[in-house]
């Protein structure tokens, strides 16, 4: 096994990176892949609660890097999916506790053990972001169809290109099809025109995302809701499958009525 290292970044905070990391990791694991996700947001740890693994943390990323435990000891195994692991962020430290070369070393040690390493980047473009992309084979940039998120995504895409980490692929999160239809939200086409990079996923706005994080049960565990299905599709595309994008915008009135049932 040689893992592919995927980092999810956005520049702007609150666009849904942590939810995406949790759900893409879960989706890959439900497809028989061995996955480790790493919370790169040191000091503002959250991937543990979204995955529902917060009560099982003993060691964290900084403990591994500073040699207080072995890599294996910091990997929390998800009991629902035997092939899913989490390396949590340290909560009482800050981003300077880790360097980009630490991340490269850690991922190199982990690569032979798993199929995928999914890294959750913190918001911003400073040290934490640089740590998160250092080992990445591929970076997925996440944005919302909203002016400030698109602007920050563009900055991140430019920085990735300058760093030789491009071309990035784009995930558009929290798309509200009804708002797009009435012309009050940037459409997928608008965002792609502006950012001019490859699209890898469209995730519709879905209340189930909050319900799922309340429970610590990632959506992608059951593929019935639309957001969970969108994350499953991203996982399939990462695995090389050609999956058509869910078409939310061109539905006519009749299709919408049918959809509602």
């Amino acid at each position: 096994m040689t893992a592919k290292v995927i980092t999810i970044a956005s520049g702007k905070g609150g666009v849904g990176k942590t939810t995406a990391v949790a759900n893409i990791a879960v989706a890959l694991a439900t497809r028989g892949q061995k996955v480790t996700c790493i919370d790169g947001d040191i000091g503002l740890r959250n991937l543990d609660v979204v995955l529902g693994l917060e009560n099982r943390i003993v060691y964290d990323l900084v403990d591994v890097i500073e040699g207080r435990c072995r890599l294996r000891q910091a990997m929390i195994r998800d009991k629902r999916l035997s092939e899913l692991y989490l390396i949590p962020a340290a909560q009482t430290r800050d981003k300077t506790a880790v360097s980009p070369s630490d991340m490269v070393r850690l991922c190199d040690e982990l690569r032979p053990e798993v199929d995928w390493i999914i890294i959750d980047s913190p918001a911003g473009i400073e040290r934490g972001f640089k740590n998160a992309i250092a080992a990445a084979d591929r970076v997925l940039v996440m944005t919302n169809p909203e002016i400030s998120a698109v602007r920050d995504a563009d900055r991140v895409i430019g920085l990735l290109e300058a760093d030789g980490k491009g071309p990035a692929a784009l995930i558009i999160n929290r798309l509200n099809p009804a708002m797009v239809r009435r012309g009050d939200m940037l459409s997928v086409e608008d965002v792609l025109d502006l950012l001019a990079i490859e699209l890898i996923g469209i995730v519709p706005e879905d209340e189930n995302v909050i319900v799922a994080s309340n429970k610590g049960l990632p959506l992608a565990l059951d593929g019935k809701n639309k957001a969970g299905q969108a994350f499953q599709n991203i996982a399939r595309r990462l695995m090389g499958e050609k999956v058509p994008f869910l078409d939310f915008e061109t539905q006519n009135v009749f299709q919408r009525l049918l959809w509602r049932k």
């Binding site: 602007r151 900055r155 430019g158 025109d193």
Partner: protein, 85 residues
């Protein structure tokens, strides 16, 4: 009827137009003031070689995928018009 249809400019269109301008400047690190000064320098340099109409010069940034392009439209003063003056 038409007035009703076009009553309101769609906010998504405003967002897209505003972003197009903002991204050009974010990507090139060139402020509108700096672009103006670049334009003045260009007019001065070109005028030393050929007669142009400084008021008709247009310089703009354009986006081509993820590449930025500087587009200059510099109308020349025609020789016949100059002789006529």
């Amino acid at each position: 009827m038409m007035a009703f249809l076009f009553r309101r400019k769609k906010s998504a269109n405003s967002a897209k137009e505003r972003l197009q301008l903002v991204l050009i400047h974010d990507r090139t690190d060139l402020t509108p003031a700096e672009l103006e000064s670049l334009k003045d320098d260009l007019i001065e340099t070109i005028s030393r070689h050929i007669a142009i109409d400084p008021t008709a010069v247009r310089i703009n940034m354009a986006q081509d995928g993820r590449e930025q392009r500087l587009i200059a439209d510099i109308p020349l003063k025609s020789a016949t018009r100059r002789r006529a003056r």
